[in-house]
Amino acid sequence: MSFEEVDQGGYVVLAPEGKFNLVAAPPVKARIDDLVAQGKANIVVDLHAIDFIDSSGLGALIGGLKAARQQGGDLRIAAAGPQVKAVLKLTNLDRILAPYETVEEARHDW
């Protein structure tokens, strides 16, 4: 899994690509933990280039969300595709991880 990362000052955008699965989830979670440890706890995960997520990917997002909130920040997701949205809904995670349509909407108050 490769992912782009852009530090915008008040927040960081992480953009993983491909399948957010058993293989990809640990490195993404590790990177989120690194950012939070550096005090960069406002994170947008831009999912536009993710065509598939499984429960491992969801676990990484929830873990990242909890880590960010513990440091007074937040983790938000943007540009989720239909499979990601369906899985969020079925797992009842679409409230805690509300999918924003764009990165701009996700970071609106940062």
Partner: protein, 145 residues
């Protein structure tokens, strides 16, 4: 490793080791099914694929001896449903089906409940030295959101 159709006109099969890097082959097999069955609603295939991958993840994560478990997938497209059979050589176990979806804060435990939510039938049996899963999703039942 690529899928082939040797088992029947509408059968797609894949054999290999149940290791993380092989999960891509499972995705490729489902992509081949979708490409050769344009009549299938892409959302049906996508949701079925999600369920199949969740069960495959379980075999990768919990199958022992780790790295030495072999698996075989067979996917069949029928007029009214899409089915997968998964056989693996891992140790015997009893899957904990019927559990409710974990709460929002849980970081794990969603795989099997998610697969169950996506499927109309999920059956598990131990046949000799092999674990056998049968996964069925009926077509055209996508709720409008």
């Amino acid at each position: 490793m690529t899928g082939d159709e040797s088992a029947g006109d509408n059968d797609y099969t894949l054999e290999g080791f149940a290791v993380p890097d092989e999960l891509d082959s499972v995705h490729q097999l489902l992509a081949q099914v979708a490409a050769e069955h344009p009549e299938l609603d892409p959302m049906d295939v996508m949701l079925f694929e999600t369920a199949v991958i969740e069960i495959a993840n379980n075999v990768v994560e919990y199958g022992r001896p780790e790295g030495a478990v072999r698996w075989k997938f067979t996917i069949r497209v029928r007029a009214e449903q899409i089915e997968a059979e998964l056989d693996d050589t891992g140790q015997t176990f009893v899957p904990e089906t019927g559990k409710t979806m974990p709460g929002e804060e849980a970081e794990g435990g969603r795989g099997l409940p998610l697969a169950e939510a996506l499927l109309d039938q999920i059956e598990f049996s131990r046949l000799g030295e092999t674990n056998h899963w049968r996964l069925v999703r009926r077509l055209g039942q996508i709720p409008q959101s």
